[in-house]
């Protein structure tokens, strides 16, 4: 029987929510690491029992935890993230040079074919890799040193590398996104990188709205069957590329707001995508106090509001960038968590929603595993 497991990171610990393939009733385990910020946790696609978690507090710094039994027990692994060589500066908030300083791990992306290999996206933005199950981490310095890194300047959320996408059809290709810098692609397994931001426009955030770098990309999603097609929720604007990021075009269409953080693709249809519109960058609340997922079945531009089971009045939560995930079942399950501590799930492509749990700490990330 299929097991569906949600890995939920929150501001005060991690939770593991488990159901069967019907996705009707859920058991809730946790909190693990009570009191610690869990920015992200994710399981290996080839060994779902192997899960990695990023554990952090401003007091005591960064740890990485590993589970070998599906989240029942955990053990700390390596936590030293040292930039390669002498890290040069990026731009500080006041425009002066500021040396790269490790702050925290935002995202952990296990390899598609080796449970001991994991990529970590960190703040200050860079990419690290382990090939020994997290015991040691080594920077992939080509991204930070690609030639434009010294122009990166943190936004209000920090200079974080938050999105890592591995191309399932081309092992040498990977994509990353950095807040307030943009999207980047490597075609040589992470040795060298190029910015892929052509077509992005940021008239409110940048002096040159079409600059090569500096765009505040919030999240990028890809369907594994069509790895050249990327969907992006930018600070403002929902964007699409059909050539692996060489050129982007806007597909915000009739959304009530094209600001937001999450974006994801239905596992069974690469043209069906989901976003959660947020009113504005200043407010970070849903428009009109209504929590609505918007679905496009045409790859963007035409959107429908999905409201059944979601609060449609007096709702003022946010949904953070890593807090939406889709399972691989049919019909597709979609899950997201809010800053109000609710985790919502749909087992019918988004047509209807239920609150799996309501009163967790603020949710930072949601990942799902469908285990046969």
């Amino acid at each position: 029987m299929t097991t569906v497991r949600l890995l939920v990171g929150t501001k005060k610990g991690a939770f593991v929510l488990t159901s069967d393939g019907t996705r009707k009733t859920w058991s809730i385990e946790g909190p693990h690491f009570t009191g610690w910020e869990i920015y992200h946790l994710k399981g290996s696609p080839v060994d779902p029992s192997r899960i990695y978690a990023s554990q952090h507090t401003s007091w005591f710094g960064q740890l990485v935890q590993r589970s070998n039994d599906g989240g029942k027990t955990w053990a700390p692994v390596g936590k030293e993230f040292t930039y390669e060589g002498t890290p040069g500066p990026h731009l500080w908030y006041d425009g002066t040079p500021h040396p790269w300083e490790f702050k925290r791990v935002w995202h952990l992306e296990p390899s598609l074919d080796d449970p001991d290999t994991v990529y970590a996206g960190v703040e200050d933005a860079s990419l690290f890799k382990t090939t020994d199950g997290g015991t040691s981490w080594h920077e992939m310095p080509g991204l930070r040193g690609h030639g434009g890194g010294h122009y990166w300047q943190p936004g209000a959320g920090g200079l974080c590398l938050h999105t890592i996408i591995l191309d399932p059809k081309n092992k040498k290709r990977m994509f990353v996104a950095v807040s307030a810098a943009g999207a980047f692609r490597s075609d040589d397994a992470g040795k060298t990188w190029k910015p892929i931001n052509k077509g992005l426009k940021s008239p409110y955030e940048l002096p040159d709205p079409e600059a090569q770098v500096g765009h505040c990309v919030h999240h990028v999603a890809m369907h594994p069957s069509r790895p050249k097609t990327l969907f992006m929720q930018k600070h403002w604007d929902v964007m699409r590329s059909d050539d692996a990021g060489e050129q982007w075009h806007e597909v915000s269409g009739n959304l009530p707001s094209d600001f937001g953080f999450v974006i994801d693709v239905n596992a069974n249809d690469p043209e069906t995508i989901y976003v959660v519109p947020i009113k504005s960058d200043s407010e970070h609340i849903p428009p009109d106090g209504k929590l609505r997922v918007y679905r496009s079945t045409s790859g963007g531009n035409e959107w429908e509001a999905l409201t059944k089971g979601l609060p449609q009045k007096n709702c003022y939560v946010n949904v953070l960038r890593d807090a939406m995930s889709v399972d691989t079942l049919d019909p597709c399950g979609i899950y997201f968590g809010t800053t109000g501590g609710q985790v919502y799930g749909s087992a019918d492509n988004g047509d209807s929603w239920t609150a799996i749990v309501r009163d967790l700490p603020a949710v930072t990330s949601v990942e799902v595993q469908a285990i046969p």
């Binding site: 690491f33 009191g35 507090t57 401003s58 007091w59 005591f60 710094g61 960064q62 740890l63 700390p76």
Partner: protein, 102 residues
């Protein structure tokens, strides 16, 4: 070599992380300084490496405080001798997360 048995009180997060209950008794070689105490603590509980002092600089993390005998010793020299009451085990050495909140 003289070894002092020093009582250390860890903050909640680090008790949880290290699986320790209540006070931790740490065997510290003389002289009983902050550096020797923290070195011994990290040998006894290796998971704490990097959580109190940054690695590899061994600089106190910004939001960690050291208190003992009603004194804030956070900014004292790591090589200064700790109060005799700490070395004798009469008073604990407290590792504290700085105040946070609104």
């Amino acid at each position: 070599m003289t070894i002092a048995q020093v009582r250390v009180i860890l903050p909640f997060h680090l008790r949880q992380l290290s699986g320790s209950q209540g006070e931790v008794i740490v065997s510290v070689p003389a002289p009983v300084t902050q550096r020797n105490l923290l070195d011994a603590l990290e040998i006894a509980l290796p998971v704490l490496r990097g959580t109190i002092r940054e690695q590899p600089s061994l600089k106190r993390r910004a939001f960690v405080r050291f208190f003992a005998c009603k004194q804030d010793l956070s900014n004292a020299s790591p090589d200064a001798t700790l109060p005799a009451e700490v070395a004798s085990g009469t008073e604990p050495f407290r590792i504290v997360g700085a105040m946070s909140g609104g």
